[in-house]
Symmetry: C2
Subunit: 233 residues, 2 copies
């Protein structure tokens, strides 16, 4: 989690204006001039897997946009159990609740190694008020959060555990082409509302059927067509 943008010596500083996913991030509507003016308080962080970005109920000074990798947003329940309610992918924003409230509503953890931009809430609030383009982008991100949360209900909490797992693998980007790093069985369970053991059993069964194939380490390649078939049933 080393800051970059605010380090005057960081060579990547200029890259913000030429950020490869700039078209899909929050500030895509800004000109380079406007961008420069707000760059100062933004930190570009590298976040290793399993790093906690922020914790549920903690004071919420920052909004985070994801440039690469993936975050999980987890809700911890009073009885000790926990449930992952959203996956945050490149182009998405985490922690937007800071714009209308004091505290984070989830615990955010890197599901894979990730690069994120950390933006002070005041900077976003100010931009929201001064730039119509950013304002519109904010509304879109918010709607996207709603869509993703509902997608979690519909895709990951409906049907048999097998169908849910197939949908999760597709969602994780298993297009069948390049290998993807898998979350732990425990995370899969927390995402799908099933036990770790069941998640393990289903993944093992998928391997036996040749639907997924372990590449090296935790990387896997998937039979996208086969998974899509299971996802529908």
């Amino acid at each position: 989690m080393k800051p970059n943008c605010t380090n005057v010596e960081w060579r990547g500083r200029a890259k913000c204006a030429a950020c490869e996913i700039r078209n899909s991030v929050l500030f895509s509507g800004l000109t380079s001039h406007e961008l420069d003016a707000i760059l100062q308080p933004i930190d570009n962080l590298h976040v290793p897997q399993s790093t906690v970005l922020y914790e549920q109920l903690a004071a919420a000074p920052y909004v985070y946009t994801v440039r690469s990798g993936m975050l999980k947003l987890r809700i911890d329940l009073p009885n000790g159990s926990q449930r992952i309610v959203r996956l945050v992918q490149p182009g998405d924003v985490a922690g937007m609740e800071t714009l209308v409230g004091e505290r984070y509503h989830h615990t955010a953890i890197a599901l894979r190694d990730a690069d994120v931009c950390r933006i002070p809430r005041e900077a976003v609030i100010k931009l929201d008020q001064t730039s119509p383009a950013v304002h519109q982008a904010l509304l879109q991100r918010w709607q996207r959060s709603v869509d993703q949360a509902e997608h979690c209900i519909v895709s990951l909490s409906t049907g048999t555990a097998e169908a849910r797992m197939a949908r999760l693998l597709i969602m994780l980007g298993c297009s069948g082409n390049q290998p993807e790093t898998m979350p732990s069985r425990e995370d899969m369970g927390a995402l799908l509302g099933i036990t770790t053991e069941t998640a393990s059993r289903i993944m093992a069964e998928f391997k036996r059927r040749g639907l997924v194939h372990t590449d090296r380490g935790s990387d896997v390649v998937c039979d996208h067509a086969g998974l899509a078939q299971l996802a529908h049933g």
Copy 2:
């Protein structure tokens, strides 16, 4: 679904400024003067139970705020099944996706008799740009949508069917004091991700245990404490 506000003869027209839930609706930040200026395109509709307000994928010209009653937002899946992903209660807004997109993402149906205000999307977009108070209220409503969708995941899709049903009854306003009209067993199933039969069995069991007591018709009173106990386990 009779329009009121735009009917010049409607005596309730003036009531908008004195709306009993005005403090909790979208335009709570406006002065009476500002309010008058935008009142014209707003229709106040009475929506009988089971009325479809709008359909998933249909063109989305309106945003709806709920004044009384309750709406369900349903997602229809390609395979024919359907899942209720959110309940919209007084003070909440339905159809906000119109502000950043062309089409509704759900089918909205009155779960109980309801009173709603129907607001053209252009009116909301304009207000969002001209009134900081409305703008802030919009952001808050959006965040509330996210919170509610996630609450659906955590409360209504986690744990045993019995615990979920208990949480649903509490959510529906069964404070134990006054009777509430119940949704159908089918709706309960679609909300909790269980079958209609299981929903029926659980409700029947709740009645036998004295946790709920049918008043008259579909009205019931609940043992709030007893339900809260089940909701935790």
